[in-house]
């Protein structure tokens, strides 16, 4: 599937595949010669599950759409890919990624259709999500708020402020997902500032915690479908992931937090993504 065919028109539900997201991530990172590739590959399956099977999105500004907050904003390219595959961004728009005058920067801006909140600084998204979930409760609607955070992001104290607030108010329509890839910008999380045991910490804060395979799209969707989002505590999916998933030389390598690809690396990466699907 080419990018052009994938984004040529509004697409029905079911068209947002992790493979298509990964391909767009590689193509656009190469075209723009930018990094954050490993982070975007890490969340490709979670994003695919959300945009293909989970989120209720009648339209990008529909008041009762589910909210999605990419709190690890540096993985925005995976989100842009999903929005393009959904038909909310055109191929031409996607091709402006990181260009002069583009709305599509390394971190997402809320002026992009389908981006509910601008993110760039870690530690903000879970509070936004808690506010979104509280708003839904006050308005008496069933809409949910999803927040994708990174494990390194949990270094931020504000994450735990939001964790306390959401649990205290039993914001059951708040569903957070941790991209537990064990890496942060300058090292492995266990070496920088240990977060173990991640699931235990969230349980201790009063959340309903489920440990999942972050690359199992069907399993992620099934798990979310089984959550009680009308009563009880907020939900945390601790999603075990591999940083750089799908490209062997990027997997679990710190370098690929920032590095762009050479031509040879790009060809190999595309080959591996395509081969994985066969």
């Amino acid at each position: 599937m080419s990018v052009a065919s994938a984004t040529s028109s509004a697409r029905p539900q079911g068209a947002v595949s992790a493979r298509a997201i990964r391909r767009i991530v590689l193509e656009q990172s190469k075209r723009a010669n930018v990094g954050h590739i490993g982070s975007a590959l890490s969340v490709a399956d979670v994003i695919a599950a959300l945009y293909d099977r989970v989120l209720n999105l009648p339209g990008p500004t529909h008041p009762d759409r589910d909210r999605f907050i990419l709190s690890k904003g540096h993985a925005a390219l995976a989100l842009y890919a999903a929005l393009a595959l959904r038909g909310w961004l055109t191929t031409d728009q996607l091709d402006t990624y990181c260009g002069d005058g583009s709305h599509l920067g390394v971190h997402p801006e809320h002026v992009v259709p389908g981006v509910d909140f601008a993110i760039g600084s870690l530690g903000h998204g879970l509070s936004y999500g808690a506010g979104a979930a509280l708003a839904a409760r006050l308005q008496g609607t069933q809409r949910r708020a999803f927040v994708l955070i990174s494990d390194g992001e949990c270094n931020e104290g504000s994450v735990w402020e939001a964790a306390m607030f959401a649990a205290h108010h039993r914001l059951s329509s708040l569903i957070a997902i941790i991209d537990l890839n064990g890496q942060q910008a300058f090292g492995y999380t266990d070496e920088v500032l240990s977060l173990s045991p991640m699931a235990g910490r969230w349980r201790a804060f009063g959340w309903d915690v489920v440990e999942v395979d972050g690359h199992d799209v069907a399993g992620l969707a099934r798990t979310i479908a089984g959550l009680d989002t009308t009563s009880g505590p907020p939900h945390m999916l601790v999603a075990r992931t591999v940083f750089g998933k799908g490209v062997s030389f990027m997997e679990s390598q710190i370098k690929w937090h920032y590095s762009p690809m050479s031509d040879g690396e790009y060809r190999q990466a595309l080959d591996e993504i395509d081969a994985e699907e066969r």
Partner: protein
């Protein structure tokens, strides 16, 4: 001002279901009227100001008008990046309410003094900044701005008794209130220290100095036209603010004088030294920092002597 704010907010909330009040565990003996009238729209979020502003951002995105309340530096400085990346970046109608701007929390010490808020808030082009001078003006200013699109910062005092003579609660966004025209000197002031400036003007007039008084409660949008009108023919302007002398009202006036090429000389009365571990009552601190009635009179007379 705090009491006036809460009373007015209760009235507004009764009229409009979008109004929600969040506090960072402060407002005991102040916020109770709102809690009693609108218990379902009041949230004590705990001592967690970053999350408070983040939650307000999520609420505002969904159509609410959340007011977040704390003591001035806790409302502004602790969650400053959340204010910047949330309501400001998204242009959402969250309202940041900082109580006790300047030295209103006098003996509580430097941690509780609000001396930077006007500077760090007014630099954001999309943030409305309102700092009433007394409780009557608080009511008018809140009524005039609570449902504006985009975010608003309110710098409020605790005093609900003192009024600035002649102000009568007047407030217009983007305007300054001229309480007295002056040919010799114009005092320009903001916030609750305005009563000291007003008293200084009375003293100066009694001594034969034709002193004017301009109260600026709308820091942003700035009352540029009113400042030009008041300062165009005045040889001397003295700004009076319970705030660091740089970045706030004095800097705003300096910008207008420079950009409009006014011939007016400017003296900025504000806080010129950093925390030194010494605290006291608000009036003592005003005097200590040259902001009392008597100190302001001396500053004006001294500046006039140097001009001669």
């Amino acid at each position: 001002m705090r009491g006036a704010f809460v009373r007015t907010l209760v009235e507004i909330a009764a009229e409009d279901r979008r109004v929600v009040l969040l506090t960072g565990d402060l407002g005991y003996m102040a916020l109770e009227p709102f809690v009693e009238r609108c218990p379902d729209r009041f949230f004590n979020v705990g001592v967690a100001e970053q999350n408070m502003v983040g939650v307000a951002t999520g609420l505002a995105e969904a159509g609410f008008i959340p007011f977040v309340y704390s003591i001035d530096p806790f409302a502004v400085l602790r969650p400053y990046e959340f204010i910047r990346n949330g309501p400001i970046a998204h242009r959402l109608p969250a309202r940041i309410v900082g109580i006790g701007g300047g030295f209103e929390y006098g003996p509580q010490g430097q941690s509780h003094h609000g001396l930077e808020d006007l500077a760090v808030m007014r630099i954001h082009p999309e943030l409305t900044v309102v700092a009433p001078a007394d409780h009557l003006q608080t009511v008018t200013a809140l009524r005039a701005t609570w449902d504006r699109p985009g975010p608003v910062y309110y710098r409020l005092g605790k005093d609900d008794r003192t009024t600035v003579p002649g102000l009568e609660g007047r407030f217009t966004l983007g305007r300054a209130e001229c309480l007295r025209a002056g040919a010799d000197v114009v005092l320009v002031t903001v916030g609750s220290v305005a009563v000291e400036a007003a008293a200084a003007v009375d003293t100066l007039v009694a001594r034969g100095v034709d002193a004017g008084l301009l109260v600026v409660a709308s820091l942003q949008p700035a009352p540029v036209a009113d400042l030009i009108a008041a300062l165009r023919r005045a040889p001397l302007c003295v700004t009076v603010e319970a705030h660091y002398f740089s970045g706030g009202l004095g800097s705003l006036v300096a910008e207008v004088i420079a950009e409009e090429q006014l011939a007016c000389r400017l003296v900025r009365c504000g806080v010129r030294r950093g925390p030194d571990g010494v605290s006291g009552s608000q009036s003592w601190l005003h005097h200590s920092h040259g902001l009392s009635n008597a100190a302001l009179v001396d500053a004006v007379l001294g500046a006039r002597d140097r001009s001669v």
